[in-house]
Amino acid sequence: MRNRRPTRLLATLTLAGLFALAGCGTGNSGAQGASGNSGGGSGSGDTLTLGVITSITGADSEFGKAQKEGYEVALDEINAAGGILGKKVQLVYLDDKSSAQEAAKDVDQLVSQYHAQLILGPYSSGSALAVVKKADTYKIPDIVPTATAANVTQTGSKYVFRLCATSDDYAKAICDLLKQQGDAKTMAIVHEDQNFGTSAEKAMLKYAQQYGFQVVDDESYSTKDLDYKAMLQRVKQKHPDVIYFASYSKDAVALMKQAQEIDLDAKYFTAAGTGFSVATFPQDAGKAAEYTLAAGQWDPSAKWQGSKEFYDKVHQKFGDYPSYHDMEAYAALYVAKAAIEKAGAYDAQKIRDALANLQMDTAFGPIKFDSTGQNAHPVIVTQVQNGKFVTVYPPDAASGKLLPTPPWSQRK
């Protein structure tokens, strides 16, 4: 025992590393996220079972919860109005545990266990890319409600249909707003290092150049990191007028709190929606959330019919204030309904063709998919003012005025 040599130590440590990696995979395999009971063949009998993949647990669970609220409200309405093709609709939720690998496995399960002809979801861009590729091999259409990374509709799949605007649209909206303001010249990008963050970064690099903003710093981080202060100090040294974040929920809160802590001032704290748009953000980040601007997809003051009603329904049923993540899921189920009814049967190929030619109005705005499966959806920019999201851009959708961001030292 005594004369352990370094080679053995190294071997032990290598094993330790392997186990740590293996642990990531196996450690999460216990929970089974499916809720609702299986209806056997989903087309059979008088119920129609539709498969939803979202992040019920894990890092993205706040967004998964929001999506589930949206789906549930739509489900109630649709069933109250007679279901789809005369059948009562049932949703089965598969949990991707906030991981792309799990999301891909969920597709397998939906196909083998529920004979899915259509998939709704998932939540995140990382999962979406995996689901889109997998659904393509099964030739099953996938309606993507929330994932914004540009590459989700760029796999060449003919079976992907995305409702939401993309990371490109986010970057463009922020740049438009900054141009309108006219007092920003330099920008720093701070993004998480997965599919969502990197595609938001790429989009912003492209648009910043087009609009003539100088990107003085570009930082990437992992949402698992313990501390962001050193990174934010780097940003601080470059004195950017604008900081553009692409962050999920816990990291968004930590980034803003730590920015406050180290007095990282900027004229505009902007973000690609997501963690900066989720309903819990103003509470969790408290005062540090104030004045942050987030590109988003919807708010209850939107002009589309049913917007306000949806907001009230979610609030009534769940006590939550819905964000655009709720709304996109809500609209996705209506799109599914329209497509299945147009197809006249629960059949993957027919539903795909119906989706490709679909044109409809929803509470999330008009839906029409282009040849890549992308719906043209307008982006809005919201600002946190007194703990509430206020739409400040574009002018025709604005419900309030953009407030200038005071330096941290002048805030209460």
Binding site: R4, L13, C24, G27, A230
Partner: protein
């Protein structure tokens, strides 16, 4: 800014150090290859989270509860499981403790599900400003507690009768038994102590980091690196190793970018293994 980064690194390093010190007793001294170390850190985090949300107990007060509960848990795990294979090969240690770790992870998942949980403390994002340098209060408290725990641990291992017995067993368990040391009981105690320190580490981490069931994996790896970097069996070495890794990670984040902090940490670790295989403060055992 350089000085500020060093200070941040030391504050962060103190947390790493306390994660490492628990394993230093278990792995460094008792030679039990404990792959569940990070999971015990996670248990400490959940204990603290629960006490905070249910009873409103300040996390730094619940460090004591974490210590006691994890101490008992550690001793129970030792007595029920590890004791049976403690004289067998490292591979058996790895398999058994990795299994214990998986059980803990999945138990946590059962009880708390996989959401990332955080607690909100009024002071966790406030700084003391001294001469232009900022010191985060939560980190500072953690730093002080970590130092106290390190000092107590050092004193316990070096000065007390039980500590001497632990060291005796680590040197030669047969001789220790012949000199009248109760090997099983002492090893159990040492294992419990290591786990208790892991629990305290969890408590100190919670105000600045979320907890979810898989959070332990990263800490296990980190702990092994710290123990080996500092020198097997040297508690002081683990403290130094943890501080060093904290400083390196912060310097790398600040001067090269956040994504380089791990890269540089492992480069330094490999260099230490290459040029001083026994670790920074370890005696060569070859």
């Amino acid at each position: 800014m350089f000085l500020q980064t060093i200070i941040n690194g030391l504050l962060l390093g103190a947390l790493y150090a306390i994660v490492g010190m628990g394993l230093s007793i278990v792995f460094g001294t008792m030679r039990i290859v404990n792959f569940a170390h990070g999971q015990f850190v996670m248990v400490g985090m959940y204990i603290t989270y629960t006490l905070f949300t249910v009873f409103g107990l300040d996390p730094y007060v619940s460090a004591i509860a974490s210590f006691i509960l994890c101490f008992l848990l550690g001793m129970a795990v030792y007595r029920l499981a590890i004791h049976r294979i403690v004289r067998q090969s490292d591979m058996n240690h790895i398999l058994l403790t990795a299994g214990v770790g998986l059980m803990l992870t999945n138990l946590a998942q059962m009880v708390y599900n996989t959401n990332q949980l955080t607690i909100n403390l009024s002071y966790s994002h406030h700084d003391l400003v001294i001469g232009g340098l900022r010191i985060n209060i939560a980190y500072l408290i953690s730093f002080v507690i970590a130092s106290v725990v390190a000092a107590l641990l050092f004193w316990f291992i070096m000065k007390t009768e039980t500590g001497r017995a632990i060291r005796a067993i680590s040197q030669n368990d047969a001789a220790a038994a012949l000199s009248g040391i109760h090997v099983t009981r002492t090893t159990m105690l040492a294992f419990g102590l290591g786990i208790a320190v892991a629990g305290v580490a969890g408590t100190l981490l919670l105000p600045i980091h979320y907890v979810d069931p898989s959070v332990g994996d990263a800490f296990s790896l980190l702990a092994f690196i710290i123990v080996v970097l500092g020198g097997m069996g040297s508690i002081l070495g683990s403290a130094v190793g943890g501080l060093l890794i904290g400083v390196i990670a912060q310097l790398a984040s600040y001067y090269l970018g956040q994504s380089y902090s791990d890269v540089l940490t492992y480069i330094v670790f490999l260099l230490v293994l290459l040029f001083k295989p026994s670790g920074l403060l370890g005696r060569s055992r070859v």
